[in-house]
Symmetry: C2
Subunit: 268 residues, 2 copies
DNA sequence: CGCACGATTGACGGAGCTCAAGCCGCGTGG
DNA sequence: CCACGCGGCTTGAGCTCCGTCAATCGTGCG
């Protein structure tokens, strides 16, 4: 079936299949009531306890004081809130946004299951950004004081904390590279590829997923305007790299998408 | 005296005075041989030991295994080097640069006295960027393993490490805001203001300083081309915000520079 | 003194922004 | 169940800011 047909027909069987198949949604994890402990959590391999022994993971579990459910559009925390906990996304997804003194907004990241929230605020004792749920979501609450205490006796836990903070630094650096060096097409391509890679690591489909965010939010994150994001999605669709319907996206030609980032294109 | 004269005349008394006065240079600190310990170092208030008691600072000093001198243009460490130490800039200045898989370069920061280097690499056990000296410089070497060990017994030290990592995250977020939200003029204005603020915190002149970096490097850092950086410096000079001669810059109208960042300008 | 590298400045073109119109899909209420 | 409205998305036309290319200048160094 041609991509043109896919793009133009709302009743197209493929797109209908896409919208019906539930991808990366709340129930996959939270319905599993057996997974209330880190040791048995489905996210264990990629979440906080990754790299820890079974015993250490058990210990970590004792820290998790609660789980919290956040409704779509609501905040997990806001800039200025006292820093007390870090959070592991158990189900759903979030965005973190920053406001500068002049009131400009910058989205600094989108977090999905198994990723952490709240590491900002370690320095100042207060969070310095807002974390907003993009859909009904659930997080594990980890009181940071307890984590610090635990890390006195446990070098592995201390290493873990350092690793987490370092990972956040690396993540932001990658974004700096995108914003500082890439043109609009490249930014969008790397955005899609990054999302795909993270979903792969979590065992979700890497070729078909729901972005959950508006064009506006993607644009803000990538430092460009909504209209440009939209145009480039359309261009990628015409080029046969992706197929999309609303916020549902399917990667059709991974190599094509990767080629957008190749510097060789510049000389061509 | 008019700014036009200042800009056009190389022999102008003001600019000559600027180039003769030594600002932010190596000898201010390293000549002070009494300051070989954290407790007596001139940078104490703003460096690693900031916020620590005299005793803790003394303890910290025992960690500093060596000082290293790096010649201008040489690397303190490179991407891929095993991560062993973090470094405190004792004198001079550095840039940190990142290369992505496609070979693109992104400068992620400029570090001056009292600032830290090497925090990247905590995660992977390897540095993930290069640190290059912008002038002959000297650093204090702090073996990270020792620091971690020390932090088992010393909550204050552990807090310090977390604070440092958190500060790095915040720093990069500010840059994300600049790259994601601001036009060229605003980027340059915020670059100058950021530099000025950091020098103020270190007791240097906040209105007159040596940038030490090429237009190319400023452009790379700010996500724009050298020519645009140059044009905007010229424009700021014409507008009476700054006076500059080569890499030496003097802030003439701080409020004017700040006003460039005001969103009110957009509606005007 | 002359070379080389960096900085400046101009002319031009294009990528991406602005403004605007129209469309789609979903929720709501009659 | 359908009409309606609204928020988000798409697409077009025109413009602007910034990148590109190129010439020139200035400065520091050998």
């Amino acid at each position: 079936m041609s991509l043109e047909a896919l793009a133009s027909s709302p009743a197209n069987p493929v797109t209908v299949a896409m919208s019906r198949r539930q991808i990366h949604h709340l129930h996959e994890v939270s319905d599993n009531t057996a997974a209330l402990h880190c040791t048995s959590c489905l996210l264990r391999a990629i979440c906080l306890p990754s790299g820890l022994s079974m015993q250490d993971a058990e210990l970590l579990n004792t820290l998790i004081s609660a789980r919290r459910t956040i409704r779509r559009g609501h905040g997990l925390y806001h800039a200025g809130d006292p820093f007390e906990n870090i959070y592991a996304v158990r189900a759903g997804s979030f965005k973190t946004q920053l406001f500068n003194p002049e009131g400009r907004e910058q989205i600094t990241g989108f977090q999905i299951s198994g990723e952490l929230l709240g590491l900002d605020g370690i320095t100042g004792g207060r969070h310095d950004c807002d974390a907003i749920a993009l859909e009904d979501s659930q997080v594990c609450v980890i009181p940071f004081k307890h984590l610090e205490q635990l890390s006195f006796d446990m070098p592995t836990i201390q290493h873990m904390v350092h690793r987490l903070l370092g990972a956040e630094i690396s993540r932001e650096r990658k974004l700096l590279m995108v914003l500082g060096n890439m043109c609009a097409e490249e930014r969008v391509a790397s955005f899609i590829l990054d999302f795909s890679a993270r979903l792969t690591a979590r065992g979700y489909s890497s070729s078909e997923f729901n972005l959950r965010v508006t064009r506006e939010e993607i644009g803000n994150y990538l430092g460009m305007k909504m209209e440009t994001v939209s145009r480039i999605f359309s261009r990628f669709q015409d080029a046969g790299y992706i197929a999309m319907r609303q916020r549902l996206i399917r990667i059709v030609d991974l190599d094509g998408l990767r080629a957008v980032l190749e510097p060789a294109r510049l000389s061509a």
